[in-house]
């Protein structure tokens, strides 16, 4: 990523990308591949976390962040489905299993630590979710699109923070 302005670094400190999914199930690992790419590029003031699933203890990791971006695969997308970036709001929904949703995690952070960062989720359409450690061509292309979108998002966030 292009290095952001130094003066904005402190204002963008505390950005966290969380990619989640099962990398053994083909395109389900797309979100994690995205954060691997971000990690390898060592973006300033951006930390990454790659996990199999979202669990309640991650709420503590969100609490002191200014921006959190979740990255997840989209299973069974329509043929025209594209990478999407959507805002995430805290959702006090019941935990259906050991899994949490991004909204649930935000709500946990808000309720337990009285701090909820601004958050977004990037969804990456996939194609093949069979046993496989590789991404399909469609998911690979979408990870690149997601990477570009993430980069723009961080730059915009920095500008907004300066303003």
């Amino acid at each position: 990523m292009n290095a952001p302005a130094t003066e904005s670094s402190s204002q963008t400190a505390g950005i966290l990308f969380i990619g989640y999914g099962n990398e053994l199930r083909g395109d389900d690992g797309a979100g994690r591949r995205l954060v691997d790419r971000i990690e390898s590029q060592k973006w300033d003031n951006v930390d990454t976390l790659s996990v199999g699933q979202l669990t309640p203890d991650l709420a503590a990791r969100l609490a002191n962040r200014s921006l959190v971006v979740f990255a997840d695969a989209l299973a069974a997308p329509g043929p025209r489905a594209t990478v999407q970036v959507d805002p995430v709001k805290p959702v006090s929904s019941p935990a259906r299993s050991h899994h949490c949703t991004p909204g649930t995690l935000l709500a946990l952070a808000e309720r337990l630590y009285r701090a909820a960062p601004v958050a977004a989720v990037i969804t990456i359409p996939g194609q093949c979710f069979d046993w496989n450690e590789n991404l399909s061509g469609r998911a690979s292309a979408n990870v690149q699109i997601a990477l570009n979108a993430a980069e723009k998002m961080i730059q915009a966030w920095q500008v907004e923070s300066i303003d």
């Binding site: 053994l24 389900d28 203890d57 709420a59 019941p94 899994h99 337990l112 046993w131």
Partner: protein, 486 residues
């Protein structure tokens, strides 16, 4: 939340489906088969996700297996990591260094602690503290935070502590490929050791507080304790050579409902001689059973309840006291109600915290070497460890280059499959009367399954989320209605 077809009315001669069962790992559904009088005649706990992980592993190098299998599940990766590394130890035919064994034990204790903390504080505590008849809209972790904010917070911190142990050792807390055939890659650095030690008092206080709380509320659930899976069965798990609680090594012991040891000193590597695996056409999950008693009479339970029923002591002072108190629930026999899995988890968390403290003070933890080097010396190997949910077997066959030819995993949740079905049937028969099913009763049936804290991702290797399906069948098996929610 659970859902029940036909607007809460269980009509005679029909099937009520609860799908999915909530607050479990993975997804499942329950079907209740009613007779013409509206009584529950049969109940089935279905697992609908396809599995194929064993086939996927064929052709992989043995050395990659701990890292691969650890990625089956985001909740209990360490369990697979250790069982896989132990299968590798057998194939290399090495005795791993003592320091490596202790480091592996430390990681497994961190795993048990974090997993039990999630199960108790976030999935089961809403039922236990808010009440099974409380408003389902708030009978969840958020309702718990309103009612008991400090408990919810301390539960999260306890899970974090377990995760920190895993992270301090493995470097990557979720899927560490740190344990390898022959030992471990790295020891615990002293700075991390001191940091973990500093957190022990808080962890101990949290577990003691949870035990106190459970003592206070247990009497409210006498009916549930009698109706949620209280039946005779065998119990299986690892025990140490001196008969104490074991979580990493040791021999297999089976104890029956009267407390008689029916199988002891069994080599986990010979599991095929005492465990059979039956299949049913309505579930992808196999049905393991104790071979000498046949199927389904060889029903056995694994996990915290079983481990506390088969051992003679916990092996640490506070946990020994808590164990003795727990065993009073059985009145001199093994504790038979699945409801007491909750209590058993708390006792195990106490044992884990105490043992973590002992290990962190052990100078051998940093004594080299940490890994035994060897080539392929055997073509088969079985690794076993106690996962939070019960005994886990990894059985590998390799060629002379160490390439996997055959893989069989026997997962704790699978071993509890027969018992979960029995639990659902008993709970349904106890609570469902006539044609109306209040939500609180449905929740109790689900709670019967939740007591086992089943990990369906592990047992079926699922991905993502599945939609909820609610189906209603007529007496001839015809589908009368179906609802779906994402």
């Amino acid at each position: 939340m659970s859902s029940e077809s036909n607007a809460g009315n269980a009509r005679p001669g029909r099937t009520v489906t609860i799908d999915p069962v909530t607050r479990l790992e993975g997804h499942a559904k329950i079907t209740l088969h009613l007779d013409n009088e509206g009584r529950v005649a049969d109940a089935r706990f279905h697992i609908t996700e396809f599995r194929g992980f064993e086939k996927f592993c064929e052709g992989r190098p043995l050395w990659e297996m701990p890292g691969i299998t650890a990625r089956i599940c985001g909740i209990c990766p360490v369990s697979h990591l250790l069982a896989s590394a132990k299968a590798g130890d057998r194939i290399l035919a090495v005795a791993i260094p003592r320091s490596a064994e202790k480091l592996r034990r430390l990681m497994n204790l961190g795993q048990i602690l974090q997993s039990h903390a999630l199960s108790f504080f976030h999935l089961s505590a809403p039922d236990l503290l808010l009440g099974m008849d409380s408003d389902p809209a708030s009978r969840n972790v958020f309702g718990l935070m309103n009612a008991e904010p400090e408990l919810a917070r301390s539960g999260i911190r306890l899970r974090q502590f377990g995760q920190e142990i895993i992270e301090a050792l493995g470097g990557n807390k979720i899927h560490p490929s740190w344990a390898v055939p022959g030992g471990v890659r790295e020891p615990l650095n002293s700075e991390a050791g001191e940091r973990l030690k500093a957190r022990l008092p808080e962890a101990l206080e949290t577990v003691n507080g949870a035990l106190d709380l459970f003592r206070k509320i247990a009497s409210r659930f006498e009916e549930e304790a009698n109706a949620l899976g209280d039946f005779p069965s065998l119990f299986m798990g690892l025990v140490a050579e001196d008969g104490s609680w074991e979580h990493y090594d040791g021999k297999i012991r089976f104890v029956d409902a009267d407390g008689t040891v029916v199988g002891d000193g069994l080599d986990p590597g010979d599991y095929r001689s005492f465990i059979g695996e039956a299949t049913e056409n309505w579930s992808y999950l196999k049905f393991p059973y104790y071979k000498p008693r046949g199927y389904p009479d060889g029903i056995y339970r694994v996990g915290p309840l079983a481990r506390l029923n088969i051992c003679e002591r916990m092996g640490t002072p506070r946990a020994d006291e808590a164990w003795a108190e727990f065993r009073k629930n059985g009145g001199g026999r093994p504790v038979s109600s699945s409801f007491h899995y909750h209590h058993a988890r708390l006792v195990e968390m106490l044992a884990a915290v105490e043992r973590i403290g002992i290990l962190l003070d052990d100078p051998e933890l940093v004594s080299e070497p940490f890994r035994a080097e060897a080539g392929i010396n055997r073509l088969t190997g079985v690794g076993v460890s106690e996962a939070p949910r019960g005994t886990l077997f990894h059985d590998y066959t390799v060629d002379r280059h160490g390439i996997l030819q055959k893989v069989n995993l026997i997962i704790a949740t699978g071993q509890n499959n027969l018992a979960m079905n029995r639990t659902v049937l008993q709970a349904a028969q106890h609570y469902i009367r006539g044609s109306t099913i209040p939500e609180g009763l449905l929740n109790r049936i689900e709670a019967g399954v939740r007591a086992f804290d089943p990990c369906l991702s592990c047992s079926t290797h699922a991905f993502g989320q599945m939609p909820m399906r609610v189906a209603l069948f007529g007496p001839e098996g015809e589908r009368l209605d179906e609802r779906t929610r994402d």
